[in-house]
């Protein structure tokens, strides 16, 4: 069964007819040619498909496209302004916070979403004082970024990059 939906992808309006079994990730990649979000597991276990969905980070493989009519999707490609990378992307470049690059767009979207969560005062599992504003130390970054796997093992550099970008 097909349904017509509209998505706002990196600021562009896209109207398409999707098989109701199609995930948001596959709609982006195979139907719209938006391949910045990556498919690493298709099970929400690796985080490579992370996008900002209506402003919050989300694994786009775990939601059907048809359930996201009129949603706003921002990918890592959309976070950059042309040749000018987002501050998180700039910090990852400087700190070599990636190698193969396949998890990287997901790490970028996750980090941007995460920094917003911290700004909004959301605590994490490692937040000690739930009444105070969150202090974004390395343990907070590690905990909050653990939904994004990196098999090349760039975590130490990712943490440094996000700390720098947050300053």
């Amino acid at each position: 069964m097909d349904s017509e939906i509209t998505l706002w992808v990196d600021g562009r309006r896209e109207t398409l007819s999707v098989d109701t079994r199609t995930t948001l990730l596959d709609a982006l990649r195979e139907r719209l040619g938006v391949t910045s979000p990556k498919k690493g597991c298709d099970h929400g276990q690796c985080g490579a498909c992370t996008v900002l969905l209506d402003g919050r980070r989300a694994t786009s493989c775990l939601t059907f496209a048809v359930a996201n009519d009129e949603s706003e999707v921002v990918t890592a490609e959309g976070l950059a302004e042309g040749d000018e990378p987002h501050p998180v992307q700039r910090a990852l470049l400087e700190n070599d916070g990636f190698q193969c690059g396949y998890c990287t767009p997901g790490q970028v979207c996750s980090a941007v979403g995460m920094l917003d969560e911290v700004k909004s005062g959301w605590p994490s599992y490692v937040t000690e004082d739930l009444d105070e504003s969150v202090e974004l130390d390395e343990d907070e970054i590690r905990e909050r970024m653990s939904g994004n796997l990196c098999r090349c093992g760039a975590y130490a550099n990712i943490v440094t990059a996000i700390r720098e970008a947050a300053e």
Partner: protein, 693 residues
């Protein structure tokens, strides 16, 4: 020659960095192709036997299905000696999960749905997938299994030396099946047209894929193009093309030129693209009163597949590491009805050095000698066994520098006496080593475009190692032009032939090729070449090959905390100091070491593919069940290296850095866990229950 590098420049950022952080770098599955079809595989649900019938009626009725391919309608491939590539050539099943067919449809969803509707019946045969030391399944690999090393080695009288030794260790270590799990699943787009076959493929060497796939289909190599500009990690699993490449190309024979796309699911990767085989290793060490080794014995048993032999020879780690007048090394294989293992980051060394370096720690404890000092006392003057001089060997400098920086000298050697709250705290050390390899046969083209701009082409690949950036630097240096004046092209068979990315030999092999090609270019065209001047050349034979023993070395230090109540193991701090020849780009090289050490933490603490012997498959076949280290599993990881100038290894003086970072990591962590708790765990991974007793 000693003293840690204090790099004045961190090295250029990755050339393709912007494309990677924005996600615009195109990986295999992402290449825009016109009117593609999607493949979903059919896979065996029994571990051994044969297919007796296939009913495709219901599948073929599904809207959008264009092809159901099985051994009944697949064309005959040319036998080229690789059973993994001979897909759909018979009804035989050699392991559970084997490719036995495919559905090709207009969408992924239709293909997957139709594949579920194919009814396959089997004749089951008894299978054996239980890895164990049993004469029925154990054999000695033949010499061509691992061409560089014979499986066995014996020098002196190990038994007599052990009987007279002041201190001895006799311990058995086990390592489990581990899966590479690069974040980018193996993927390929195959299309046939009048010119031949085009593959957009994720691999460690486009030329190797062509060299195998072309003869498999009986076509000239020139008629197969393999395009792989970006590869999302590999770690050995993309070294040799696996069955999915052949299957997709076979299916594309039936689609009248329409491209066929197939990306493996994460679960399929646990059966179709190789793994690190489990090992059982017994190490016996004997030392005199001063801790000098008098006997070294290392026996390894590893799993292989009945379907395709693979031998990585873990015990060979003990051939050249330390001086020992008496030495015995044996490597055996246990053949089972399982998928074929393959190279996984530091194949042989990762598991073998875990055993040897754990045993060295046990010897240090029993002899009452500091583990750093014990290693220094067993440092060989020349390479054991071969008697060759070392091209360079700075393991002592790594150990000393690392000990200084880690604060090793304040260490109380007593195990199980430091407690902070609920946590028992300890530190450990292990040495690492990896051979410095060079693969001959690569070619590079140097072309002067105009105005001092150069185009350099080599059919190498960047699987995340930073080779695109390092080769650009080496080319610019040899050409004596700024990095910005060089445009480097790699990642496709459109460029000259190059060896695969493996054996930590990429920069050594391709870098030497580029530098020698520049020399040939200057000889032919001088220093003021005309626009369009072009030379293609490769690196010759290294006159020092066979004259020196060539290895990288390193020292790994770990701080470990083990929860006294739960047994949970944490690694808050690691330091690795390496001696690996010339470091071309400190920024990206550091990431290589860091990545190896991080994968080593993962190997030490988490990774274990659990096989259900009743069915012959890996049970925890996804990234929830098979845990790889996540961000919060990794604490502070510091990396540094010794300035090392090695004139013998190759023209660029690099020794290879892609694998050594994982070597010794698990031993350092296991040794630190023993220091923390007094419990010696000899079975990876170091999961909580093993510390509770």
């Amino acid at each position: 020659m000693t003293g840690a590098t204090r790099a004045t420049s961190p090295g250029p950022e990755r050339i393709e960095g912007h494309a990677k952080v924005t996600g615009t770098a195109r990986y295999a599955f992402e290449h825009p192709v016109a009117d593609p079809l999607y493949l979903h595989p059919l896979r065996a649900t029994i571990a051994r036997g044969r297919v007796t019938s296939v009913d495709t009626t219901a599948a073929e009725r599904v809207d959008g299905v264009r092809l159901v391919l099985t051994h009944h309608n697949a064309e005959a491939l040319v036998p080229i000696g690789d059973p993994e590539l001979a897909v759909l050539q018979s009804d035989e099943i050699a392991f559970r999960g084997q490719l036995i067919g495919a559905v090709v449809a207009e969408t992924q969803e239709s293909a997957a749905h139709a594949a579920d509707l194919v009814e396959i019946r089997y004749e089951r045969m008894a299978h054996d997938s239980d890895f164990r030391d049993d004469a029925d399944i154990v054999y000695t690999p033949d010499a061509d299994a691992s061409p560089m090393l014979s499986p066995d080695l014996e020098e002196g009288d190990v038994d007599a030396a052990l009987a007279d030794a002041a201190f001895t260790v006799d311990a058995t270590y086990t390592t489990p099946t581990e899966h590479h799990n690069p974040l980018e699943p193996h993927a390929v787009i195959a299309a046939w047209d009048d010119d031949g076959l085009t593959l957009h493929d994720s691999n460690q060497g486009s030329h190797l894929v062509r060299d195998l796939i072309a003869p498999l289909f009986g076509v000239d190599k020139e008629r197969v193009s393999v395009i792989s500009p970006h590869v999302g990690g590999a770690f050995g699993s993309k070294g040799m093309p696996h069955g999915h490449v052949a299957l997709t190309a076979l299916a594309a024979r039936h689609t009248a030129g329409r491209p066929v796309k197939y990306a493996l699911s994460r679960t399929q990767m646990f059966e179709l693209v190789g793994y690190r085989p489990p090992t059982r290793q017994r190490v016996r060490l004997g030392a005199d009163r001063e801790g000098r080794l008098v006997a070294t014995e290392h026996d390894s048993l590893e799993q292989t597949s009945r379907f395709k032999q693979y031998a990585e020879q873990s015990a060979s780690a003990s051939r050249e590491m330390y001086t020992s007048p008496n030495r015995r090394v044996t490597n055996r294989l246990a053949a089972l009805d399982v998928p074929a293992p393959t190279w996984m980051r530091a194949p042989g060394e990762a598991g073998g050095m875990y055993a040897l370096e754990s045993a060295m720690d046990e010897l240090a404890v029993s002899a009452g000698i500091d583990p750093v000092e014990l290693r220094l006392r067993n440092e060989p003057e020349v390479a054991p066994v071969s008697g060759l001089p070392f091209s360079s060997r700075n393991l002592p400098a790594c150990l000393r520098e690392g000990a200084e920086r880690f604060g090793w000298h304040e260490r109380d050697p007593r195990p199980g006496v430091r407690r902070e709250g609920d946590w028992l705290v300890g530190t450990g050390v292990a040495a690492s080593s990896f051979p410095s390899l060079f693969f001959p046969g690569s070619l590079a083209t140097i072309r002067h475009e105009s105005g001092g701009k150069y185009r350099v082409e080599i059919g190498a690949v960047d699987i995340g190692t930073g080779s695109r950036t390092a080769l650009t630097q080496l080319a610019a240096e040899a050409l004596e032009v700024p990095v910005e004046a060089v445009e480097l092209w790699l990642g496709s068979t459109e460029q000259p032939h190059a060896s695969l990315a493996g054996g930590s030999a990429g920069t050594a092999s391709w870098g030497s090729t580029v530098v020698e090609a520049v020399r040939a270019f200057r000889t032919e065209h001088g220093h003021d070449p005309v626009s369009g001047a072009e030379t293609t050349a490769g690196a010759g034979k290294n006159p020092d090959a066979g004259e020196y023993a060539m290895h990288s070395y390193g020292a790994q230090f770990a701080e470990v905390r083990v929860n006294a109540d739960t047994g949970e193991v944490r690694v808050p701090r690691m330091l690795g100091v390496f001696a690996a020849g010339r470091i071309v780009n400190p920024r990206t090289a550091r990431s290589q070491f860091l990545g190896g050490m991080t994968m080593g933490i993962s190997m030490a603490l988490h990774e274990h593919s659990v096989v259900d012997e009743r069915f012959g498959h890996v049970v925890n076949h996804d990234l929830a069940g098979y845990h790889i280290a996540g961000n919060a599993d990794v604490g502070s990881v510091e990396v540094d290296w010794i300035d090392e100038h090695d004139p013998h290894v190759n023209p660029v003086g690099v020794k290879g850095i892609g694998e050594i970072g994982i070597v010794g990591t698990a031993a350092a962590i296991g040794n630190a866990a023993h220091h923390a708790t007094g419990v010696r765990v000899r079975d990876l991974p170091l999961t909580p229950e093993k510390f509770l007793r």
